[in-house]
Amino acid sequence: MIGLLAQLHIRENPTQSCEADNGFCPDWIAHNFDRYVDPFFQHVYLTVVALAIGFLISFGLAIIAYRRRWLINPVTQVTGILYTIPSIAAFFLLLPITGRGNTTALIALVSYVLLIIFRNVLTGLDNVPDETRDAGRGMGLTDRQLLWRVEVPLALPEIMAGLRIASTTTVGLATLAFFAGAGGLGEQIFSDITFKSNVVVAGGLAVLLAAVLDGLILVAQRLVTPWTRAVAAR
């Protein structure tokens, strides 16, 4: 339905053969590129905000569950259920409660990354060598100092790895956010899914966004974990 309506809108005047054939038309792309700018930034917004909120929630949960081990199972189960709900279903389930718009989309996107980041943060913390922890405690670090000065820094490689998986996943899922009325590149793709030029540009931008985010996180990871590249000198 939405697609059909938009199709009329996107090609007002399909006189040229390339556009009429639903082909890949560089001319058309060059003339119509600006119609992708706003959806692209809306997509960036959805992805980054969902990642930020999702990271804060799951990182916090992991920190709490790290010291209170009994919380690990319930948190894993709840975030696991959220993870398995098909995102389209989540959008439609939320619509009656939160209505159309960013809120609904963000809730669904956030709930989807919780499990990934939670598990990675916890694994990272659990992988801190026992002797490192013992030495820290034995020298007089309090539990809090041990956490923030030793355990979290040492968990950074796993935490960042989780963030990378989460960011790629979120870019992909955000293409469905238009079902919740939140726009994004998905809206462009489905506005005329038969038109190659449209799908290639909108889809390509989504892939580009995923790659750029992944690269940025990778660079950040290398900046915050210089010791992981320190190789034996002798």
Binding site: P129, G140, L141
Partner: protein, 396 residues
Amino acid sequence: MSALDSAHTTGPSSRPDAATLAFRSATKRYPGQAEPAVDGLSLEVPAGEICVLVGPSGCGKTTAMRMVNRMIDITAGDILLDGRSVKERRPAELRREIGYAIQQIGLFPHMSVADNIATVPRLLGWHKSRIRARVDELLDLVGLDRETRARYPAQLSGGQRQRVGVARALAVDPPLMLMDEPFGAIDPINRERLQNEFLRLQREIRKTIVFVTHDIDEAIKMGDRIAIMQQGGKLAQYAPPAELLMFPNGRFVEDFVGADRALKRLALQRVRDVDLWKAPLVRVGEPVAEARAKATDSEVPYPLLVDDDGRPLGWLSERGLVGERVQHELRSSAEPVLETDDILRDALSDLLQEEAQYGPVVDGRGQVVGVLSIEMLAHVLRTDPDQVPSGADAAA
């Protein structure tokens, strides 16, 4: 190791004094376990001495050590640090005053050597410049290059890591150090060197040290006093090493110390404690006749070729004493070269290893100061055990 020899009585350290430590019927009982892990342990460690806790695995030696800095809390009894109960202290604060070194070292992999060493000074809020100076001082003290300060632990050798661990434990000049098998993960050759270095260091810093090991030989070598513990966390005997070797108070100690007690006494003396033979030293270019004369005058049958700085190059056997002048090429190996700081047990094993009757002894600068022979070691073994000094005397 000249860096180790320089005194560091002044500097950015905080409390140079050593503490006295007293276990008073200290007991650790874990719920659900019939036997206590440590059972009524009572012993006193005088300030500045090394007390070695030794025993088979499961004897509670590590538990006993960890009760001192409250890594494990005492069930009954008490532990007094300078007369004050550790139970009155907040654990984190207490631990900052007690040096802590463990077998696995536990360096922070994400911190440079300097940051690792600065851990406790930072917790105590030391000023940056003071920390910097202290790190340099400690690197010198444990014989590490100052360039290593920026390295990460992954970039260090096992021995270097061990030294960083010791430097980190010494960072705020704590009056008490706890060391749990600190040399346990090091290969035998480097372990012997690190032990010697550590004893040299201890002569200088005079800390009170609780040292845990399962190795009776290490205990005899390192300890001023040795506490032998047995299954069930009971103290079997607490005595200086010589006393332990000569008067074990029961079957358990006797068995644990081993049938070769006489041989073990060699660990109580160092090469420098023995009247060494005078070495017939010759240099390249000396007339062969003169070299022969020197050897005849000495207890050693052959002259020892040394370089201009007096460092050993090799023995000149009959085959080497040909022609007019002593030649460099005709020497045979000088191995094993022994050091004045070696304990006699290690010297003996070096000699046996090289199948040598005697070996040149060098001082800290590598200069020959005499010759040690199997014959002399046999003599030491035959002497009256009452004349054997205690480990404390040997280390002094």
